[in-house]
């Protein structure tokens, strides 16, 4: 599903974001990528959605080599990878429904399909009763669930969540992780980039630990091993 071969990313002439990363993530996996600030977690996430290109190495997503992906093909990649960020990235003047349907509108989906898909994904994240609220009328956890709903509208095979609980309290964090687990149960691969020790340890899944741009640990049932 996700295959990284000898990936390195160098900024400028000598700032190493990632160094010789080799990783394979299978379909349906729930993988936590952990590490301290500057370890290379976000760089890795950006490479996966083609926001940045690797300096060396090869990246394949579902057999598709995206290492030198053409600019015009990036939208198609992003429809296959749902993305969730720490800072939500919701449009404040749009309701929950409008924020979610926006992703479909700009992808050229029909109104009929939008009316079918939006209620479905809102139900998956448990926000079907709050479809007409605006982001400021929701808690942080609910806002993040809207973002997850938006990421799900294209039925992505991969959901990439970069610090999705970074701005949330414990209860909202638990809600968001529950939703991610549910999505993983439906068969999507979930890649969770985080430095939240409790979340990682509670999941009891595969944990890839980065430090200084390198993979220093990759355990099938790992724990958060770094000092916060």
């Amino acid at each position: 599903m996700i295959d990284l071969q000898n990936i390195s990313k160098v900024y400028g002439s000598d700032v190493h974001g990632l160094r010789d990363i080799n990783l394979t993530i299978d379909p349906g996996e729930f993988v936590c990528i952990v590490g301290t600030s500057g370890a290379g977690k976000t760089t890795l996430a950006k490479l996966l959605i083609a926001e940045e290109r690797p300096t060396r190495g090869k990246i394949k997503i579902g057999g598709w080599d995206i290492t030198k992906i053409k600019r015009r093909d990036i939208p198609y990649l992003r429809r296959q990878i749902g993305v969730v960020f720490q800072d939500f990235k919701l449009l404040k003047k749009k309701t929950v429904w409008e924020n979610v349907s926006f992703a479909l509108e700009v992808s050229g989906e029909t109104n009929k399909r939008i009316r079918e898909i939006v209620p479905h994904v809102l139900k998956v994240v448990g926000l079907d009763q709050k479809a007409h609220r605006f982001p400021h009328q929701l808690s942080g956890g609910e806002q993040q669930r809207v973002v997850i709903a938006r990421a799900l509208v294209h039925r992505p095979k991969i959901l990439l969540a970069d610090e999705p609980t970074g701005n949330l309290d414990t209860i909202n964090t638990a809600d968001v992780i529950e939703v991610l687990k549910k999505i993983n149960d439906f068969g999507s691969t979930v890649v969770l980039v985080t430095h939240n020790r409790e979340v990682v340890n509670s999941l009891k899944g595969r944990v890839i630990t980065l430090a200084d741009g390198r993979v220093i640990s990759d355990k099938k049932h790992g724990k958060y091993i770094l000092q916060s």
Binding site: I49, R71, R72, I74, P75, Y76, L77, R78, R79, V83, K89, L91, F102, A103, E105, V106, S107, G108, T110, N111, R150, A151, V153, H154
Partner: protein, 306 residues
């Protein structure tokens, strides 16, 4: 169906952009209006110059005065010969009596001349022949042709109402105005394109969040780009509409003041713009839309490459 849905959404996004950045849009439209007005001033100057030249050309002719009592046969021969030349457009022959009547009419307000005529027993005037050339450049040839020995002996005098100097001056003034007008048009067009470029960059800045999300959730580059290009085309069309309205008002109000310069004749400005309105609007609309669309394309392209 899906195509129309997408087009509808793109236009809707474009319209929202305009509303959100109304002041920048207004400034952009204003500069585009100036560019279009300068183009139309050029066109107007051309139309005015053409009609001035046509009026002046109408006034050029050669008047041939025959000695009194020239036989009709000679007069007919002169007329036939001159009319047969391809350089001649029209020949009008006035008999001595008609020439006298015309002379009296022309000097109806000058009693001393009329009294002097009364003193004479006979008609002092001979027949007069007025010749109009096909082209203004043909007059020297026609003047030469009047030296034909078959009738030249009967010619008392000939006058050539030469307006070529005036025509040359009109042409020169028009060319100068066209030259500076063209420079002005180019400057305004470049300003317009630059302002559109910046307006679109400001629009991108104010909507960076929305555009960022569009790209994140898989909107195609075309979907990001097209609303901003349509914005620019909206600006161009607004500017076209306003400039056409202004031109209509300016011509309606201004043309009567031009009548005195045209000796009471129609300056032809309103007629020209009325007859060519659709063509002018289409050509200007197409060119200005193309220029601003390219400026917008470049502005969004720069953003999309980031």
């Amino acid at each position: 169906m899906l195509f129309f849905t997408s087009v509808g959404r793109i236009i809707s996004f474009a319209w929202k952009n305009i509303i959100r950045n109304a002041w920048i849009g207004l400034a952009t439209v204003l500069v585009l209006v100036l560019a279009l007005l300068s183009v139309n001033v050029l066109i107007g100057v051309n139309a005015l110059a053409s009609s001035a030249i046509a009026i002046l050309e109408q006034k050029i002719d050669v008047s041939v005065y025959f000695v009194p009592e020239t036989p009709d046969a000679i007069l007919d021969q002169a007329r036939s010969y001159m009319a047969s030349l391809p350089q001649t457009n029209r020949v009008t022959l006035f008999t001595a009596e008609q020439a006298l009547e015309a002379f009296k009419e022309r000097h109806a307000n000058d009693p001393s001349i009329l009294d002097a005529l009364e003193e004479l027993d006979e008609n002092p005037l001979g027949a007069t022949m007025i010749i109009k050339a096909a082209k203004t450049t043909d007059y020297p040839f026609l003047m030469e042709a009047l030296n034909n020995p078959q009738f030249s002996f009967a010619v008392e005098s000939k006058t050539y109402e030469d307006h070529t100097v005036a025509i040359g001056q009109v042409q020169q003034i028009a060319a100068t105005i066209r030259y500076f007008g063209l420079i002005l048009t180019i400057i305004f067009t470049i300003f317009g394109a630059l302002i559109v470029y910046n307006a679109i960059r400001v629009a991108i800045y104010t909507q960076r969040e929305e555009i960022g999300i569009m790209r994140l959730v898989g909107a195609s580059n075309a979907f990001v780009r097209l609303p901003l290009i349509i914005d620019a085309i909206f600006f161009a069309l607004f500017a076209l509409l306003i400039s056409m309205g202004l031109i209509a008002v300016i011509i309606s109000v201004g043309e009567p003041y031009l009548l005195s310069f045209y000796d009471g004749s129609d300056p032809g400005l309103k007629t020209y713009f009325t007859n060519n309105f659709l063509e002018l609007a289409l050509i200007q609309g197409a060119i200005i839309s193309f220029v601003v669309a390219m400026a917008s394309w470049a502005a969004v392209g720069r953003y999309l490459k980031k």
